[in-house]
């Protein structure tokens, strides 16, 4: 049976993992390769690298990181952040990324999803969505609350409804959705199960839930109850609040389908 995935996410800036924390198991907490190897051994099902490098002339640094990570771990990993066009996607895939996530560029130019999924295959095109609840608004067509798509790292509203967008992205060939709740991100109060459930029901592609993980039961809620296929967490793993193994052991104990 297909298992639910647990995905640590690493923020990378200028080729270094940010908020590097010194642990005994890491010699260099800022080294992306060492972190990747650590999570590989820790039993993570997949990794996401989010490139938050600000200046565009330093973009090539991430390609070197990707290349070195691909040589070091034998598990799938996704790279996102600042991906603008088909050339960026091709370069990341050629460097060894298994999947590339696109966010702002896909909203600005939805044709990019179609073009790249046809060229490289749907399986490697992940559409990342930053969703924010617009309170007291119903979206009658979908009979759900209304969440809006935000771009430019959550700074710019688009007016686009999340459910509309995810359906469109699926139709254009996206293989997966990386769904981040801006309302829950950083709160540690749990994933946005309502948003995740609404998106999971709307499409027939895998949904990776992101934003809000703080306790073990949050993983169970979003995977078993809300229908997410994978749960992503950054700081929770990064600061070793829980290990991947602790999360997985807990989920197995509660009967979820998890890879040991």
């Amino acid at each position: 049976m297909l298992t639910k995935r647990i995905i640590p996410c690493l923020d990378v800036k200028d080729g270094r993992v940010v908020k590097g924390v010194k642990f005994e198991d890491l010699k260099d907490a800022g080294d992306p390769v060492e972190n990747a190897v650590y999570y590989d051994k820790a039993g993570a099902d997949e990794l996401v690298f989010l490139d938050i490098t600000a200046s565009s002339d330093k973009r090539d640094i991430i390609l070197d990181v990707v290349k070195r990570v691909a040589e070091s771990i034998f598990m799938p990993f996704t790279v996102g952040g600042g991906v603008r066009n088909i050339d960026d996607i091709r370069a990341l895939l050629n460097a060894g990324a298994d999947k590339v996530s696109i966010n702002t560029a896909a909203v600005k130019n939805p044709g990019l999803i179609k073009e790249t999924s046809q060229r490289f295959g749907s399986q490697c095109i992940v559409v990342a969505i930053d969703a924010k609840l617009i309170p007291n608004t119903q979206y009658p067509i979908h009979n759900t609350k209304h969440w809006e798509v935000y771009v430019n790292g959550g700074r710019t509203s688009t007016g686009i409804d999340v459910i509309d967008w995810v359906k469109k992205a699926e139709g254009l060939g996206a293989g997966e959705v990386l769904l981040t709740s801006m309302d829950c991100d950083g709160t540690k109060d749990g994933y946005d199960t309502e948003l995740t459930r609404a998106v999971s029901r709307a499409v027939n592609i895998a949904v990776i839930a992101s934003g809000g993980a703080g306790r073990l039961e949050h993983f169970y809620e979003v995977l078993a109850d809300a229908g997410a296929d994978a749960a992503l967490a950054a700081s929770l793993f990064h600061y070793r609040e829980f290990s991947v193994k602790e999360v997985k052991d807990y989920l197995i104990k509660r009967g979820a389908s998890i890879r040991i």
Partner: protein, 198 residues
């Protein structure tokens, strides 16, 4: 997926001494191969056309028929069969009789992405590809199509995703793997090692 770089990285772990992994793109180079791995990128039709355009098809067939061990990964596995719903009209190698079908069910998500378990069907001779790999091991899948060989006996392992499909097939010196051994951590690397050490 089916990233050739990842396959090379994985092979590099087991190559050495007399064995060396090389990427070939011409028939002339392929002639010297002792074993062949075909990872898949793109669609069935495109890949079949590309093999033909590069004049690799005939050499590939000849090498396999001479007995060179062959491993097709994901799309590389699909190409072993005769045809695929992905690209109607396109011809595969036809070394394994049967076709490639698309997952169709409202109950499952497509593509089938993630870690799923493989279950050895029987102790056939070709189960040697699974030597020292625990039955029920989890491996990484990423695909929308699956193979349906006419001859059930070529199925070495099955995986359950709404329906039971062939995740490993083998016939004589020919092996096909639906999942990505190069992305399946220890279990996947062991399978690649088994193939390289055949």
């Amino acid at each position: 997926m089916g990233n050739i770089g990842s396959v090379m990285n994985a092979c590099a772990r087991f190559a050495g001494g007399s064995s060396q992994a090389v990427i070939v793109s011409e028939a002339e180079q392929l002639k010297y191969a002792d074993k062949i791995i075909l990872p898949g990128v793109g669609s069935f039709g495109e890949a079949a056309a590309e093999l033909k355009a590069r004049k690799l098809l005939e050499t590939l067939k000849a090498k396999i028929q001479e007995g060179a061990p062959f491993l097709g990964i994901c799309l590389g596995m699909h190409l072993l069969l005769e045809r695929s719903q992905e690209s109607p009209g396109a011809k595969g190698l036809g070394l394994i009789k049967g076709e490639v079908l698309k997952f169709k069910s409202a109950k499952i998500k497509v593509p089938h992405i993630g870690w799923n378990d493989i279950n050895a069907k029987s102790k056939t001779q070709n189960a040697k590809i699974l030597k020292d790999v625990a039955d029920g091991s989890y491996v990484y899948f990423c695909h929308s199509y699956y193979v349906k060989p006419d001859d059930e006996d070529v199925v070495v392992a099955i995986t359950d995703y709404g329906l039971k499909f062939a995740s490993i097939i083998a016939k004589d010196n020919i092996f096909g793997i639906q999942f990505h051994p190069e992305k399946s951590q220890a279990a996947g690397l062991k399978i690649l090692e088994n193939f390289i050490k055949l």
